[in-house]
Every structure is written in C-alpha cells, then in structure tokens.
C-alpha cells in the first residue's frame, strides 16, 4: 500500500459543544493533522518512511492538568480524540500535542457558559 503525498502536520483544533452550562459534563473533541507514520510503510520510491507520530497530548483547564495521553503510531493519521470534561468554571482549555520530532502543536478554547 503506498501513501499519498505527506500531509502537513499542524492545524490543531478543539471543538466544544454550544450552550455549556456550569457543572455539566461536556465532551471535548480534539483534532490535529499529522501523518502518524509507523515506520513500516514505504514511499513511492520504495524507501521505508521513518516513524513519526504524536507521542503525547497534555490537557490543561484553567492552568490545571486534567488529562495526559500517551500515544504510539497505532493511533490513526490526523488523530482524533474526544473526552469528557466537567465545566466547573469559565477558563481556557489548553491542549498541547507533542510529536516524535519534538514539535509541539497547541490550541486553546475558552470554556464559557451560555452561548
């Protein structure tokens, strides 16, 4: 199986539901573009493509770390993850994705009530 042109890594996104009420558990969806190479596939010239993937995701809410994910290349390309969060207060939700080249992709979304 050959892979298409290497997609650019980046474009981190956080999707929040509308109309967040205080103390409700919401589902946060997070997405970043990344090839997530396993190191087992080959390019069009037949050369092995080196392993290259998001290895960790750090989630902070109002400056407090609420979750941390450890990933391998077994997570699909353009990794998507959704997780719950209790919206206790209005504060920024910050997500940082770190890949195996040490590059960090960050995104912030404001948890605000109403809307």
């Amino acid at each position: 199986m050959t892979l298409g042109a290497a997609p650019a890594a980046g474009d981190p996104r956080i999707l929040l539901p509308p109309g967040i009420r205080q103390d409700a558990v919401i589902y946060v969806r997070a997405l970043v573009s990344h090839p997530m190479y396993t190191g087992m596939s080959r390019d069009e010239q037949g050369a092995l493509i080196r392993e290259y993937y998001i290895k960790s995701v750090e989630i902070t809410y109002g400056g407090q770390r609420v979750a941390r994910f450890e990933w391998t290349s077994g997570i699909s390309r353009d990794p998507y993850v959704a997780f719950p969060l209790r919206a206790t207060h209005e504060a920024p939700l910050h997500i940082a994705w770190t890949d195996t080249k040490g590059k960090v992709y960050t995104q912030t979304a404001a948890i605000a009530f109403g809307g």
């Binding site: 199986m1 087992m40 994910f69």
Partner: protein, 164 residues
C-alpha cells in the same frame, strides 16, 4: 481412424462428465456439512500481548466488568477503526479512574495508547480511532486510583493491514 478418434473423444467426455458429477456432489456435501467455524484470532492472548500486560501491571488481576468497549465487528478501513471506551466507575476526588489503556493483541505496537485521567473530567470515557494490522482482540483496561483493573475486549475483523 475417424471412429477411433471419436471414441477417444467420447471416452474423454464421459470421464469429464463423471468428474464434474463428483465435483458437484463434493461441493454439495461440503455445503451441506456444517461449516467449520473459523477460529480466527480467538480469545487466547498471544504471549507477546501477555508480556505487555505483565510489564505494565505485574501480577495484578484484571477483572471483567465496568468497561464498555464499542468497536465495529468488521472494520471497513483498518487504518481508521473507531473505538469508544466508557466506564461506570466513579469519577470523584477520592475514587476515580486514573487511566484507560488500549491494547491490540496482534498489532506491531501491542500497547496502542494510554489515557491518564483525573476526577476533573467528571466522567471516564475516550473516543478515538486506531490502526489495526489484522483481525485481533482489542482490549480496554481501566485502572482506578486504588489500583483496581477492569477490562473489556472485543474481536474485530479487518481486511487490509492498516498499520501504515
């Protein structure tokens, strides 16, 4: 000479007809017989997967229950298999789910992901997409702050190798 040739041809046709009949009967019998169930990659954990669990959890017992694992029975695209893991265990300051671990028995990287959680989340669930090399058991292991381990597993059939 002409006759001889047509005799040969007749003999050949007769033999072929008998052959076809035998085949037809054979196929019919095979269809009638209860199809042996493809054992597939069954519930038995391969040694490599057992080793991964031993390294991570030692001799701690992993019990069935409290975990719901939602996965397709047949993955249309093994590069993107949707996984939803949920647990009914409490998410309170003193009793909570500390981590959800995702293991695929027949993947090159058996330990696919670990999700470390805190009570601030209010609930414990993870929705994501994984790659699968071939048909395999997928296991979700939920670890509490008190050291309990609960799991659920499900067999997922795949078509192509999705580990790209």
């Amino acid at each position: 000479m002409e006759d001889e040739r047509s005799n040969t041809r007749r003999a050949f046709l007769r033999a072929a007809a008998v052959g076809i009949a035998v085949l037809v009967v054979g196929v019919r019998d095979a269809l009638a017989a209860p199809a042996p169930r493809d054992p597939g990659p069954g519930d038995d954990m391969p040694d490599a997967a057992k080793k991964v669990l031993r390294e991570r959890f030692g001799a701690r017992q992993i019990k069935d229950g409290h975990v719901s694992l939602d996965l397709p029975e047949v993955a249309p695209d093994s590069r993107e298999v949707p996984v939803f893991i949920e647990t009914d265990l409490p998410m309170e300051p003193d009793r909570y789910v500390k981590a959800i671990h995702l293991v695929v028995d027949h993947n090159p990287d058996i330990y696919v992901a670990g999700f470390q959680l805190t009570p601030a989340l209010g609930k414990a669930s993870i929705d994501t997409r994984i790659k699968m090399r071939r048909s395999s058991q997928v296991r979700a292991i939920v670890e509490t702050n008190t050291g309990e381990l609960w799991w659920a597993h499900k067999l997922v059939y795949t078509t192509l190798n999705g580990c790209v």
